[in-house]
């Protein structure tokens, strides 16, 4: 087994050497360095295209998904070796998408064979870009109170309502969306629907954030017709009708795992060595960096342990909540320190030297980390209830 893994490592190393272009081994500098796929996707350059296509053809956009759904069918230890080898050369992810991180795992768990064949392959090949319709203006932390309603019309629903904080809705091709289909049952009255963003009646409006960027949108649904079926064994919803909350909760685990940054080398690495290149004169700042680095490197260990345990079913089902809480609080602190170490240069909003204010805009962006996908306070509630079993929680 260990020998097989060694062989796999050698083979992987060789393949990466031959297929991962030098430009794809650099840290991500701006939005366009991240390839999201989709109908309207454009590559920033040839290197990005070559790297994506090489991975897609080998199933490495989703290495641990089964081969028949576009993955490479790697075992957990093999997937870990691939992660390690990619991290070793700082390889960028070939494809980023909510399809990979969120919808995919939910379909693997709840989807029909027909849904898996169609949607998972589209995701793995980067053909369809998905967005998530969860929060509503009146339903943030209390998500289950959502009101967007789908009226049953036999072979389809007519959906009316509004979603908010829909990440990249204006660039997405399809949406997975929570829609109320029974007003009399809070938890068992929600259906997890899938539909095309190009459908009549769907419109989006970007929300300008404190960072000056607009990664989130408002999404309006005005008499949108959502079919109950897209063909044989391809329902227009995941799981059962009115039981979408089960799917939503399962998917939230994956969303929280994604936001936690577990296994993200950039986020769980130390900061001191980078910021100290120009010297740190102030001993109090040095001490703060050392404290941070301890927390960051320790969190890196936790990320590794969490992912290892997750793959073999040893992780507590509510553990992604703990990871999200710890990971996002840490990331906010990271950017606070980067701003402090950067001084007045880091305040620049539009300069060339800061690539258009990247430090300040990124710092502001991280403030959403402990809000999106469930606030830190909600995470603590969930830990108290589901892991610690505290009374009345």
């Amino acid at each position: 087994m260990a020998e097989d893994l060694d062989a796999f490592r050698a083979e992987t190393r060789e393949w990466l050497e031959a297929n991962c272009p030098e430009e794809m081994r650099q840290p991500v500098r701006d939005e366009r360095d991240v390839y999201w796929g989709g109908r309207n996707a454009e590559f920033k350059n040839d290197a990005q295209k070559a790297w994506f296509e090489a991975c897609r053809d080998r199933g490495y956009t989703v290495p641990d998904w089964p081969k028949e759904y576009g993955g490479a069918g790697l075992t957990p230890p093999q997937a870990k070796v691939l992660r390690q080898e990619m991290a070793r050369i700082n390889a960028r992810p070939p494809l980023s998408s909510f399809g990979i991180w969120m919808l995919g795992p939910a379909l693997l768990h709840f989807g029909t064979e027909g849904q898996k064949q169609r949607f998972l392959n589209e995701i793995a090949r980067g053909e369809i870009r998905w967005c998530q319709g969860y929060s509503e203006p009146g339903s943030g932390s209390d998500l289950v109170s959502m009101q967007t309603f789908g009226e049953d019309k036999g072979d389809h629903w007519v959906v009316n309502g509004q979603k908010i904080w829909t990440s990249y809705a204006d660039e997405a091709d399809w949406i997975f969306c929570l829609v109320r289909t029974d007003k009399n049952d809070k938890y068992r009255g929600i259906t997890f629907m899938l539909f095309d963003m190009a459908s009549d009646g769907v419109s989006t409006k970007p929300i300008k954030l404190i960072s000056g960027n607009s990664p989130f949108c408002e999404t309006f649904m005005d008499d949108v017709k959502v079919p109950k079926s897209y063909g044989e064994d391809i329902p227009g919803y995941v799981g059962e009708i009115n039981r979408g909350w089960d799917v939503a909760k399962y998917l939230l685990g994956h969303e929280r795992e994604m936001i936690s940054g577990a296994g993200n080398k950039e986020r769980s690495g130390s900061l001191g060595p980078k910021l100290a290149r120009n010297g740190i004169d102030n001993p109090v700042l040095r001490a703060a960096l050392a404290e941070y680095d301890i927390d960051a490197l320790a969190y890196g260990c936790m990320g590794e342990k969490f992912l290892d345990e997750l793959k073999v079913g040893k992780a507590h089902p509510a553990q992604p909540n703990m990871m999200k809480y710890a990971g996002t609080e840490l990331n906010k602190q990271r950017h606070e320190l980067m701003m402090s170490a950067g001084g007045s240069r880091a305040l620049e909003w539009e300069s060339e030297e800061t690539n258009g204010g990247t430090p300040a805009r990124s710092w502001l962006r991280t403030k959403a980390n402990s809000i999106e996908g469930g606030t830190s306070e909600v995470m603590l509630n969930v830990i108290a209830k589901r892991i610690l079993d505290l009374p009345g929680a």
């Binding site: 603590l380 830990i383 610690l388 009374p391």
Partner: protein, 379 residues
């Protein structure tokens, strides 16, 4: 290697947990010996039982009667020791001294290891010279004298020094006080002439000695490893001890945490279980999160030592510092959430706070290791 226990390790954990919670319990060991005013601060009978369980020599190689296990396995036993506050010479003898003796001559191994494996011998570590851990500076001198050496100086915080059959002493054989080179480790027998011990009871009821060497004559064969080349052996021994102390600290924190969450589920005020109050729930949940991270870090450090990985040094300090901070939080929250009763000697939670204080200080507190993390990272 995945970052969780494999089947064999899980079996060891179950065995150690059962043994320590029965034989090594607070009632049977810590309180028992404390209330008797025991000079050793631990039970020799329990040390014999450690041997029967295979714990005493678990890191000793098989040629010398041990089990040849690694830091991860030692950490598993130490976590249970921490959880039960079991006083024993395990960390200093079976982890640290065993690590040092591993670099010694066959004669030296033959002289000391069998007693350790059998649970008959106890070893102590004499490195610190001031109230704060600073192994870079070693002032205790060993000068050539005939075929051997003559040792002069003073050591402090020598845990169980007065109970030990042998002390591993770090001394300077050449160079200046803070040089890397010029360190030599010695195995000094307890009856060495001109060695004086002043044993003192510490806050956690353990015993530690101030030791003075006033021209202690040692044979050349008391040298562990190479003369002047002891820094590497010393570092390896310290890392083994720090990773072990981190594992024990995870146990101390876990024990305090479990008692605290249990208490939150029992104690009523304002007509409610206090665990229903969100102010306490969030603090408990935060502590849980920190404790999980600390445990992962302690295992990772042990794994890296076992693999002899490049950055093991760094991760050991990360683990000692992280566990130190988290265990400190766990015992403080523990006493606070217990309220008035947490201040009483009758309740165990205060014992966790005392043990954390001593363990945290041992081999470098979190400030020491934060500084070391910065230095090892180049700033």
């Amino acid at each position: 290697m995945p970052l969780y226990l494999n089947e064999d390790q899980q079996m060891l954990a179950d065995t150690a947990s059962e043994f320590m919670s029965e034989q090594g319990s607070i009632e049977k060991q810590l309180r028992h010996w404390r209330d008797k005013g025991c000079k050793d601060g631990f039970g020799h009978e329990l040390w014999g039982q450690f041997a029967e369980m295979g714990f005493t020599g678990m890191m000793v190689d098989e040629d010398h009667g041990g089990l040849g296990m690694g830091h991860v396995e030692a950490g598993i036993v130490l976590e249970q020791i921490g959880r039960n506050l079991t006083p024993s010479p395990f960390l200093t003898s079976s982890v640290m001294a065993a690590s040092a003796l591993g670099a010694g001559s066959d004669d030296l191994k033959g002289r000391w290891l069998p007693g350790l494996v059998e649970g008959k011998s106890v070893f102590a570590i004499a490195v610190d010279e001031g109230p704060k851990h600073n192994p870079q500076e070693i002032k205790t001198r060993a000068e050539k004298s005939g075929n051997g050496f003559r040792l002069t100086g003073a050591k402090t915080f020598v845990i169980q020094g007065a109970s030990a059959d042998m002390l591993v002493v770090a001394a300077r054989t050449s160079g200046d006080d803070s040089d890397d080179e010029g360190i030599t480790l010695f195995a000094v027998p307890k009856d060495a002439a001109n060695m004086k011990q002043n044993p003192v009871r510490l806050v956690d009821s353990s015993m530690a000695s101030h030791v003075t060497f006033d021209g202690v004559e040692l044979d050349g064969d008391a040298v562990i490893g190479e003369v002047d080349g002891g820094r590497e052996v010393l570092n390896r021994m310290l890392n083994a001890g720090r990773a072990g102390a981190a594992a024990e600290g995870v146990g101390v924190a876990g024990g305090a945490f479990d008692r605290t969450t249990e208490y939150l589920k029992q104690r009523k005020q304002f007509g409610k279980l206090i665990g229903e109050f969100q102010a306490l729930q969030h603090r408990a949940a935060h502590l849980y999160s920190e404790l999980e991270i600390a445990r992962a870090t302690a295992i990772k450090a042990a794994q890296m030592l076992d693999e002899d990985a490049d950055k093991a040094d760094l991760m050991v300090s990360v683990a000692k510092a992280k566990v130190g901070k988290v265990a400190r939080l766990a015992v403080q929250e523990g006493v606070q959430m217990h309220g008035g009763i947490g201040m009483t000697d009758e309740y165990d939670i205060g014992l966790f706070m005392k043990r954390d204080r001593a363990l945290h200080e041992f081999l470098g507190d979190h400030y020491f290791h934060a500084d070391r993390v910065a230095k090892l990272s180049g700033y």
